[in-house]
């Protein structure tokens, strides 16, 4: 009889630790084998045209242990995905993007993407001695327990925020190696924050505000456990540059203003 695999039959672990509150997971690869199409072609032959990589993406709810933020640095991670009686392992994964977002009526969420330069697939090339089980108490954050400090927002209601951190990497390959000799973490990190507010007295800048009135803002987002003051995550950035503002309205809604702040963080 055909069976299926549901959410309870899967598990994602990174460096031996089970990841909590995963909402979606995808991983895979695209073979670099390419046909050699030559003059007078009488047979199609394939050969690897570039080193092989893979990628993994996951989304989770914001819970007390935000596991992936620590990998925006230079260290890689390994992991495994268990589904039914299968076990897919991966090594040398480098985080390339990290995101977090929440809007009214949503549970704050996290997202990550990583490129895998080592191995990925079934096989016995990696052995975590013991994998910590997923937690049963997650301490999920709630939209009603977020404090945002943006200087001028006493009379303007924040409807949503989104945070995106890009952490690009450059793999350095020897010409005859299938795995990189090193993976260089590029600098700076690009940070983008977008806020959407119900406007009251918000003043949109003149489009020629740069350079005389260039606007930098300190941003702090403190996320607490749902309906609680127990802090589980704080994002804090200094001197984020205001790069865009967008006014939006229609017949049936309030005036909404979206604005984007950009930051760049140099690696140490």
């Amino acid at each position: 009889m055909l069976s299926r695999i549901r959410r309870e039959g899967q598990k994602l672990a990174v460096n031996g630790t089970g990841i909590n509150a995963v909402q979606s997971l995808s991983f895979g690869y695209e073979s670099t084998a390419q046909p050699i199409t030559t003059l007078g072609l009488n047979k199609v032959v394939y050969a690897p045209g570039a080193p092989q990589t893979a990628s993994i993406q996951a989304n989770s709810l914001m819970v007390y242990d935000d596991f992936f933020i620590q990998f925006t640095g230079e260290l890689p991670f390994s992991g495994q995905v268990d589904y039914k009686d299968q076990n897919v392992k991966f090594t040398e994964a480098y985080l390339t993007s990290y995101s977090s977002s929440c809007s009214i009526g949503e549970i704050p969420s996290l997202g990550m993407g990583a490129d895998i330069y080592g191995e990925m697939g079934t096989g016995d090339y990696l052995n975590f001695e013991t994998i910590t089980p997923h937690d049963t108490e997650l301490k999920i954050a709630g939209y009603n327990s977020i404090n945002i400090n943006l200087d001028e927002f006493n009379t303007n209601r924040v409807n949503s925020y989104s945070l995106d951190i890009q952490t690009p990497r450059t793999a350095v390959y020897a010409f005859n190696d299938k795995t990189p000799s090193e993976v260089v973490s590029e600098s700076p990190l690009d940070i983008t924050m977008q806020f959407s507010i119900d406007a009251d007295d918000y003043k949109i800048k003149n489009i020629r505000f740069v350079p005389e009135e260039t606007s930098f803002r300190n941003v702090s987002i403190s996320i607490n456990k749902n309906n609680s003051t127990e802090n589980i995550k704080t994002f804090s950035f200094r001197n984020m540059l205001l790069v865009s503002e967008q006014y939006q309205s229609d017949m049936n809604g309030n005036v909404q203003i979206s604005f984007v702040l950009k930051g760049t963080v140099l690696r140490v």
């Binding site: 007078g40 047979k43 032959v45 570039a50 005859n176 299938k178 260089v184 590029e186």
Partner: protein
């Protein structure tokens, strides 16, 4: 006449008793007639355009070497299965002209040429790409290139396969102690990210009055060069030239059938260091040999 697709134009070369079908990505032929305008006193316009020199042609193509071509004992004994690599090696070793030309045939056109340049490029984990140029001079009554472009009918195999016998960087490497990789003062060896090797040959065609095409060719010299992309930089280029090593074995995906490229006494000619914002420092060095 219908247009002709690339897969109807096979490229084959022949050298002595060896024939090799080339896995060529492109091929170009150009022919030139050396015509000059003739002016004369008493005539306002040009009198005519008249030949001043011989017709010449050149054929160039890029390809991935197949390492199990037809061999003869001479080349087999050197562990060399590739005609063009073998010809280049023979020329620079003997420092003599090709005893006979390489026959080139593609799409119904054929000619006989002298190898004038040959290059080998290795990028990370990819098929090796070679580029080559032949000069076709013609001889006796034979014009440099003859025949006409025609679609060739070929037997086509429906089966796909792994290109296990083609040159690939996967298992290619430098012989022990024959690598040009830079070793830093702290004994770290640079990562060789790509290798671009080339050799150019200079010949002198010898013409006789009364004949359009040359009667023979004299070998003059060859210049061999390798550009190496690395991740470390060696400062302080030597005034008298620093000796380097270069003995590359190009192998197939099944880790067999090497073609060897060995530079004799190469010397470091130039180094470059480049870095731009949001990037990693890249270094390149060029080593050169002359024959």
């Amino acid at each position: 006449m219908a247009s002709i697709r690339y897969d109807q134009i096979p490229l084959t070369i022949q050298y002595g008793s060896r024939t090799e079908k080339i896995l060529a990505y492109d091929c170009s032929l150009s022919e030139t007639a050396d015509l000059q305008p003739v002016y004369s006193i008493g005539k306002k316009g040009v009198a005519e355009q008249t030949p001043q020199g011989a017709r010449t042609a050149s054929v160039s193509f890029s390809y991935t070497p197949v390492l199990t071509g037809i061999t003869n004992e001479k080349f087999k004994s050197k562990g060399d299965y590739n005609i063009i690599n073998g010809v280049a090696d023979e020329l620079k070793t003997t420092k003599a002209s090709q005893s006979f030309g390489v026959s080139l045939m593609f799409g119904g056109i054929s000619g006989e040429g002298l190898l004038t340049s040959y290059s080998v490029s290795l990028e990370p984990y990819a098929p090796v790409q070679c580029s080559v140029n032949f000069e076709l001079f013609g001889s006796g009554e034979n014009i440099p290139a003859s025949g006409e472009l025609k679609a060739q009918s070929l037997f086509r195999s429906p089966a796909s396969d792994l290109a296990s016998k083609v040159g690939h960087s996967a298992y290619s490497s430098f012989m022990t102690a024959q690598s040009p990789a830079t070793i830093t003062s702290s004994d770290e060896t640079g990562i060789l990210k790509s290798v671009n090797y080339s050799i150019n040959f200079n010949y002198e065609p010898v013409y006789k009055l009364g004949q359009e095409f040359p009667s023979t060719f004299l070998y003059h010299s060859a210049t061999e060069e390798a550009r190496l992309m690395e991740n470390v930089y060696e400062t302080g280029i030597a005034f008298t030239g620093k000796s380097e090593k270069f003995h590359l074995d190009v192998k197939s995906i099944d880790n067999n059938n090497t073609i060897s490229v060995n530079m004799e006494n190469p010397v470091l000619m130039s180094t470059q260091l480049r870095v731009s914002s949001n990037g990693v420092a890249e270094t390149e060095k060029t080593i050169r040999s002359f024959y």
